[in-house]
């Protein structure tokens, strides 16, 4: 067991420093890079807080779509990608659109929670 702050709490503190203190101090053309750095901290903090749940949900989704029993989410995503490319799932495109949207929304929850809802 590590002492507090927890890992995401530490990242929060770095993000707060980058945006609140460092950003106003750096030349204008560097400020965007500071914001990107703070955003990276926020992504990692959300990912740690979410624990294994999003990966588990993706694994169950990919296994269901493939009719497989894989235990590795990356391997399952690769197999789904391979079958899609091979045209083996061409008659299921309409069914797969909302299902893969579930997967994409789980990625957005971590990477950019405010993105969904804007509409393309």
């Amino acid at each position: 067991m590590q002492d507090r702050p927890t890992a995401p709490e530490l990242l929060d503190s770095v993000a707060e420093y980058l945006v609140g203190e460092l950003r106003p101090e750096v030349p204008r053309e560097q400020r965007f890079k500071v914001l990107v750095a703070a955003n990276v901290c926020a992504i990692v903090a959300r990912e740690i807080r979410a624990e294994a749940e999003p990966d588990q949900a993706d694994l169950e989704l990919f296994n269901e779509l493939l009719g497989d029993q894989s235990s590795d989410v990356h391997a399952a995503a690769a197999e789904l990608s391979r079958r899609l490319r091979a045209g083996e799932l061409d008659d299921r495109i309409d069914e797969l659109v909302p299902r893969l949207e579930e997967h994409v929304r789980r990625k957005l929850e971590i990477a950019r929670p405010d993105y969904a809802g804007g509409g393309p």
Partner: protein, 324 residues
């Protein structure tokens, strides 16, 4: 390559053009996710040098890009004046393109929000429409030594190109794969191939207070369906937060199309634009993955490039929503 050698290389090339190169200075311009950009200054004038670091997403070798920019300039498209090209191992070290300097900014959020660009924003859609109509009016026969000929359907060719790019990265992106299958199944009637800029969007336009000053970054140019450029211009990522204005965050699509047709562009079919908007989201997802990959493989270490790997899901969501 050391900066000193680069300076002497640039000095030599400019001197050949009859420029007095006393007090020549080079300074690196930050940004430019795929290419290195230098500002070249001396009392006699200002130029921009773009160099290819290698490994970046580029469909057009720099020497061909030089010929393309010259062809675009001939067609009346505002571009930086192309001055000289040096190949790999030449006087710029890596492949490099020396161009006239164009004042203004290419930073999209600045163009969209700063008060000094208010008039520019009002004019921009019309100017972009006119520039794009001129790009699409370039005679493809003049480009046969510059761009590879497209055989068959431009949509199929582009899908194949970006599937190949995705394969090189090696990361599984099932939503993008699904997008490519949808694009194969829903391809429109093949268009007569025209010059397509391939990355026509805010960020690749130099804008000054009067509006569009230059169209830059021709490295994704190819022969294809002209509606591809319009669909790409409309994807949500290129609205930079102005989500309710589909064309570059500055205009409605209908107004843009009217201006494009008035400037001599062929009649635009909205379904075709929508199709290429779906494609554009798949392509942007692959480019994000590619840039993160360039960081991971050490082509260019950068937290900015790394963070793009986690932006793949943004165009993926728009892609899936457009397919519904």
């Amino acid at each position: 390559m050391e900066e000193e050698r680069l300076v002497s290389g640039v000095r030599e090339v400019l001197a050949e053009q009859g420029v007095d190169t006393r007090e020549l200075r080079l300074s690196r311009i930050p940004g430019g996710a795929s290419r290195e950009t230098w500002r070249v200054e001396c009392p006699a004038g200002q130029w921009v040098l773009r160099r290819e670091p290698g490994g970046s997403v580029s469909l057009v070798p720099m020497g061909d890009e030089f010929a393309l920019i010259a062809a675009a300039a001939d067609a009346g498209v505002p571009v930086p004046a192309p001055l000289a090209f040096e190949p790999d191992g030449g006087r710029f070290g890596s492949p490099g393109l020396l161009m006239g300097y164009v004042g203004g900014t290419s930073v999209a959020p600045r163009v969209l929000r700063k008060p000094e660009f208010e008039q520019a924003r009002e004019r921009l859609a019309g100017q972009l429409a006119e520039a794009l109509a001129r790009i699409h009016a370039v005679d493809p026969a003049k480009l046969d030594e510059v761009l590879p000929e497209t055989s068959g359907d431009p949509a199929v060719a582009q899908i194949g190109e970006w599937e190949r790019q995705l394969d090189e990265i090696g990361e599984p992106l099932p939503a993008v794969e699904l997008g490519f299958r949808w694009l194969c199944a829903n391809a429109p009637e093949p268009a007569e191939p025209r010059l397509v800029h391939g990355d026509f969007r805010l960020g690749n336009f130099i804008v000054d207070e009067d509006g569009l000053a230059a169209v830059i970054d021709w490295e994704l140019a190819h022969l294809g369906d002209p509606a591809e450029d319009i669909g790409w211009l409309c994807i949500r990522s290129w609205r930079f937060g102005n989500d309710d204005l589909p064309v570059a965050g500055v205009a409605e699509l209908e107004d843009f199309i009217s201006a494009y047709e008035a400037a001599g562009g062929a009649t635009v079919d909205l379904d075709r634009v929508r199709y290429w908007e779906v494609f554009g989201n798949a392509k942007w997802a692959v480019i994000c993955a590619r840039q993160a990959h360039d960081h991971l493989t050490g082509v260019r270490r950068s937290h900015e490039l790394a963070s793009l790997g986690r932006r793949i899901c943004e165009p993926e969501l728009d892609l899936l929503e457009l397919m519904r």
